[in-house]
Symmetry: C2
Subunit: 235 residues, 2 copies
DNA sequence: GGAATCAGTGAACGTTGTTTACCCTGGCAA
DNA sequence: TTGCCAGGGTAAACAACGTTCACTGATTCC
């Protein structure tokens, strides 16, 4: 019988796609980036490897899709914590968001490596063609823009706040502006990127173990750096 | 005839080792980290793949050796530029060193990815056992300690300079202190790591293309951030 | 009911790292 | 000079990988 709804094929297909993705993410957290292979996924979902090509053009395409999903996951995690402190000052909210970013990274090191680590050759080349990934990355950035924009609206930085004049900023952020338009003030974008790179540097080095030669507990340093950075944002 | 010097075997062996390493690095810069494979190296040097096991225990061990070499290369590049400005103020010298770090990273993106990117599973596990890699990394750090120490000796930070009291610092940097001892003042170590993570964050994101969605030319931002960081070092 | 599309399989190709058994040559000692 | 033996190197093989191709069944559509 099998009730013939119009989108039965599509529904089955979508279910299989999520099943494949779930399996891939399971393998990713279990064995790291190298453990996610077409054949392992196929074994896991009970198919043969070539069958996966009905759903993804290649392994790289699959990984790219997963990375895009991960960016959405991370963005939601950051948005949730921002919403949970909706009544606080924008800058303290940014602090919460930064801590959440670090927490998420430490809890998902393999995923973090895929998203923010050294670019995987195939995935990067795909990413240059398709836009969903850069979109997801930009959306994560805009989550911060939103809150920083609030602060900016209340305290629009007296004088020369952002070290660079407006026309220079406009030229500097041409890639973003070209794709997403003037949704946020230039100084907000600039200050985010400056703060973002600091945050990224500390968290990435911690997750990747690049500070293990010097120290093990990074949290005190993170808190100091976060305070310093937030202080700078409030100038 | 072949003049039978005492260490002929060893000399031949050493030559082959460097030949293998050179080939690997050639493949690395040509095709990225994934292009460096045992069989490709073997083809390049005119041997079969199993023969390489006479020189390295595994591909991971070979890569580990190369990464260690790369750290030395980078350290020399930084030291050279430090020596070239030996007569200038320590803090301006640190600025030159930071710029050199960025230059080197941009000129050697594949090598940089291997050294500072997401950890390759096998290499990392090796690195935890053997120490030469962490040693090389620490030596690179100490290159900066040296110069920062000069500044510290001239201007020993009045008051509470480094946000954290000395005993806390001692506990924080226990891994470094345990291995390398009290060669440099604690505040110097702390300030270096804090500055290092900022520098790393910006350069890594640039090299890995993680800022491409927002901006293409990172240099202006780098200069601003560098100035900011150096200013903080001079507090 | 026939045709076309789709999901899935099996076999194959060319990679990869690694192990094993074997060979040969250079260096050393008797 | 002779014998030996360790070390360098090879060929074959194994298991795993991504990917392609030809093919089969089922499902959907007209």
């Amino acid at each position: 019988m099998t009730t013939t709804t119009p989108g039965r094929r599509e529904r089955l297909r979508a279910e299989t796609v999520t099943e494949i993705k779930d399996s891939a993410r399971r393998l990713l957290v279990a064995g790291g980036p190298t453990a996610v292979s077409l054949r392992a996924i196929a074994r896991d979902v009970g198919m043969t490897a070539p069958a996966l090509y009905r759903y993804f053009a290649s392994l790289d395409a699959l990984v790219l899709a997963i990375v895009t999903d991960l960016f959405e996951d991370l963005r939601h995690a950051v948005e949730d914590v921002a919403a949970a402190h909706a009544d606080e000052e924008p800058l303290t909210r940014v602090g919460h968001m930064a801590r959440q970013f670090r927490r998420w990274a430490l809890a998902h090191p393999a995923e973090f490596a895929l998203m923010f680590g050294s670019p995987v050759p195939g995935v990067t080349q795909f990413a240059e063609q398709c836009t969903p990934l850069t979109d997801a990355g930009a959306r994560l950035g805009e989550t911060f823009f939103e809150v920083l924009g609030e602060h900016y609206a209340r305290h629009p930085f007296g004088g020369e706040p952002h070290d660079l004049p407006d026309p220079a900023l406009r030229e500097l952020f041409q890639p973003y502006l070209e794709t997403f338009g003037d949704r946020f003030p230039l100084p907000v974008i600039y200050l985010f990127v400056a703060a973002w790179t600091r945050l990224y540097g500390l968290v990435a080095m911690e997750v990747f173990g690049h500070l293990a030669w010097a120290m093990t507990d990074i949290e005190p340093l993170f808190e100091v750096e976060l305070a310093e950075t937030v202080r700078r944002l409030s100038r």
